[in-house]
């Protein structure tokens, strides 16, 4: 038996966690005194430096799901986990080349500012707010349910307690400290996470003489050469490309990430921050993959048990690979530290999401749509704060409602919506003169609705969640039939052995005995034939059962490629059907501000 303190309340982690909460709340108190205007609340007064914003972007993006999930995936599935980790980075260069600078020059607080720049304000802001909120809500549910599950697993803390703790803290940061406090929570978290992961990797490499070759050699020795080769994760090319597209362009459409570009003073700082963020995030994924291989090889190394088996015995998804490795190499103190870091990780991500959701509600929906752009500073900040509390409560309630459910698909859904609703409208408004209001509005709504609808119709939700009971019942039925077939096979084999071979019968001296043997053989053969018929009947039953297996209307697990393609098609087609002369004329002025920064906020 592998002994672990995971699942009990760890004193070190409580200490580290309290320290983190005290320091972040002190920062929030300090930030509250500096948060007066909308510019302070949404954009930290545009005073964040490139390096600080790079760290904050990394802090906003590196979730507990990637820290624990990817390490777990690598530790249980080897190279396939590595493939997955690459996809999470590749959106960042796209943000750098196409998005960050125009966004900074053209917008004020949200990405809707940019889409609405030369189009009709109200319909665009309503659509963009819907797109942003959909991403924020699904992402928040996934994070909060993850937090609740994680802390029950780690400390045996009740699900509801963890959800309320996370909810209250995230609302406090955003409500009182706005973007200034949120930025510092993200910076501290990024430093802690990168530092903690670096230390863990150092301990891993220390065990393998600082040789990756040796680490991989040990992995191959324990799990076979296949562990270091691409396996079953990617089977259908369309699915693989679709997942890649959603990850890549979804990253470039996440409202909480896009919002961070308004916190820096100018485009130079904006591009610098993407460069730093890409470096930090890339480094982080390389660390996470090393932690995964380290966990597979080093956990249970003393007891002779396979690391993978120990990891999966504690959590089937492999999420405890990192914490178990930390305990194995650094004892319960290091485990406690890492658990506190995981908590901080979740807090920073949900705080960023809440702020992005609140600004969509207040800046886009309230001021842009309801008040038609006319609202006093004080009023807008007040509405943003009310929105923060409302969003926090909604997130907590939804997390409780989804307790114990499989919500892992919601992160993928958030990325699919971001890639299908937000990204096409944003890029078309930046690049294409003819892009019109009608086109933008329909592209956003159809992108959003189709992203949700297609995922519901894919096996990810249709089979694994909606028709889970049917699927499980039929799987069980098939397993039972397989069991019966095995029994029949064994019986047939036993009977076959009883049949006397012809030469043995010929060797029998007495005629009477010989006739009896022949007759017995005939009887045995008859029962074998009977059993074979039973087997055929079972095979037919299995086929019938298999035919009843729920089949998703869409066969791809990641249908993002279709919703994104649809959104682009609508955006282009509707621009021709509903042209907008006025918007085309304003494109030149937009370009002046986009490329030269004349008139930028």
């Amino acid at each position: 038996m592998h002994t672990t303190t995971i699942g009990t309340l760890n004193i070190t982690s409580v200490l580290f966690f309290v320290l983190f909460v005290i320091s972040t709340l002190s920062i929030t108190y300090w930030a509250a005194k500096r948060t007066r205007t909308t510019k302070d609340f949404y954009a930290a007064g545009r005073s964040v430096t490139g390096l600080q914003n790079g760290l904050a972007l990394a802090g906003d993006y590196m979730s507990a799901a990637s820290f624990l999930g990817i390490a777990g995936l690598v530790s249980t599935r080897g190279y396939d986990g590595l493939i997955y980790s690459v996809g999470w980075l590749v959106g960042w260069p796209i943000i750098m080349f196409l998005i960050s600078e125009p966004l900074r020059n053209l917008g004020k607080y949200t990405f809707a500012d940019v889409v609405a720049f030369r189009l009709s304000q109200r319909p665009i802001r309503a659509a963009a707010a819907a797109g942003s909120l959909a991403v924020v809500i699904f992402y928040l549910i996934a994070q909060m349910v993850g937090a609740g599950t994680l802390f029950r697993l780690m400390f045996n803390l009740p699900f509801e307690v963890a959800v309320v703790l996370v909810g209250v803290l995230m609302v406090s940061y955003v409500l009182f400290g706005g973007m200034i406090a949120t930025t510092w929570v993200q910076i501290i978290k990024a430093v802690l996470l990168l530092g903690g992961a670096t230390l863990l990797v150092f301990l891993v490499l220390n065990r393998v003489d600082f040789s990756y070759g040796k680490l991989f050699g040990m992995a191959a020795e324990k799990y076979g050469d296949k562990f270091l080769e691409p396996g079953q994760l990617v089977t259908d090319p369309v699915d693989a490309f679709s997942l890649g597209l959603a990850l890549m362009f979804g990253t470039a459409g996440l409202p909480h990430i896009l919002m961070r570009f308004y916190t820096v003073p100018d485009v130079q700082a904006a591009r610098k921050s993407v460069f730093f963020a890409t470096g930090f995030i890339g480094y982080f994924y390389i660390l996470t993959v090393t932690i995964g291989f380290g966990a597979a090889v080093l956990i249970g190394a003393d007891s002779g048990k396979l690391g993978r088996d120990i990891i999966m015995s504690i959590d089937k998804g492999g999420n405890m690979a990192g914490p178990l490795l930390a305990e194995a190499l650094g004892g319960s103190v290091f485990l406690g530290f890492l658990a506190a870091v995981a908590f901080a990780t979740i807090l920073a991500v949900v705080a960023g999401l809440t702020l992005a959701g609140a600004s969509a509600l207040s800046h886009d929906l309230y001021v842009g749509v309801i008040r038609r752009g006319q609202s006093a500073e004080k009023e807008e900040v007040k509405v943003a704060k009310i929105a923060t509390v409302g969003l926090g409560l909604t997130a907590m309630l939804l997390a409780m409602a989804f307790k114990g459910q499989n919500v892992a698909f919601m992160v993928g859904l958030a990325f699919a919506i971001a890639a299908s609703a937000n990204f096409p409208a944003l890029i078309l408004s930046l690049m294409w003169k003819k892009f019109s209001t009608q086109a933008a509005v329909w592209s956003i709504y159809i992108g959003m609705i189709s992203a949700v609808a297609f995922i519901v119709m894919s096996p990810t939700v249709w089979v694994d969640i909606i028709h889970k009971a049917d699927k499980d019942a039929i799987t069980k039925q098939i397993a039972e039939i397989d069991g019966k077939v095995k029994t029949v096979d064994a019986e047939i084999e036993a009977l076959t052995k009883q049949i006397l071979p012809a030469d043995a019968i010929a060797a029998i001296k007495k005629k009477k005995d010989q006739a009896a043997a022949v007759q017995k053989n005939t009887q045995t053969q008859a029962s074998i034939d009977g059993k074979k018929k039973d087997k055929d009947a079972l095979a037919a039953q299995k086929k019938d059962a298999g035919a009843k297996m729920p089949v998703a209307p869409i066969k791809y697990r990641n249908p993002g490629i279709f919703s994104m393609g649809l959104a682009f098609a609508i955006g282009i087609l509707f621009s021709f059907i509903f042209p907008e002369k006025d918007a085309e004329e304003k494109f030149a002025t937009e370009k002046l501000r986009e490329y030269v920064g004349i008139g930028a906020e």
């Binding site: 590595l82 600078e101 890649g244 591009r271 002025t589």
Partner: protein, 103 residues
């Protein structure tokens, strides 16, 4: 300090050149990133045995591992190339244009 008006810049050859250069660089780098990542995905989808090859006779490390890590590093290097171009070329072109309208 120049004396041109903001609107005059729209047809200024320097502005047109700036826009076309920035777009060219951005799209070339975007296409390179797409080729880098989807090239990697294409290898996984269509040529798994290639990635499963051993780096050398005496090691278990497969060629797929440096290729995956290389995709991560390559993405970062591309952002580095962009920032180098923007800091050295783009910013000075922007400054020249801003000087023309006196700010």
């Amino acid at each position: 300090m120049g004396s041109k008006k903001k609107e005059d810049l729209l047809n200024d050859p320097d502005f047109l050149e700036l826009v076309s250069k920035k777009n060219t660089i951005s799209w070339i780098l975007t296409v390179l990133e797409l080729v880098l990542y989807f090239g990697f995905i294409a290898l996984i989808a269509f040529n798994k045995p290639f990635l499963a090859q051993k780096l050398a006779a005496d090691t278990k490390t497969t060629i797929g591992i440096p290729i995956a890590v290389g995709t991560i590093l390559g993405s970062w290097v591309l952002t580095g190339i962009y920032i180098f171009w923007a800091n050295t070329k783009y910013d000075s072109m922007v400054k020249k244009l801003k000087d023309k309208i006196g700010g």
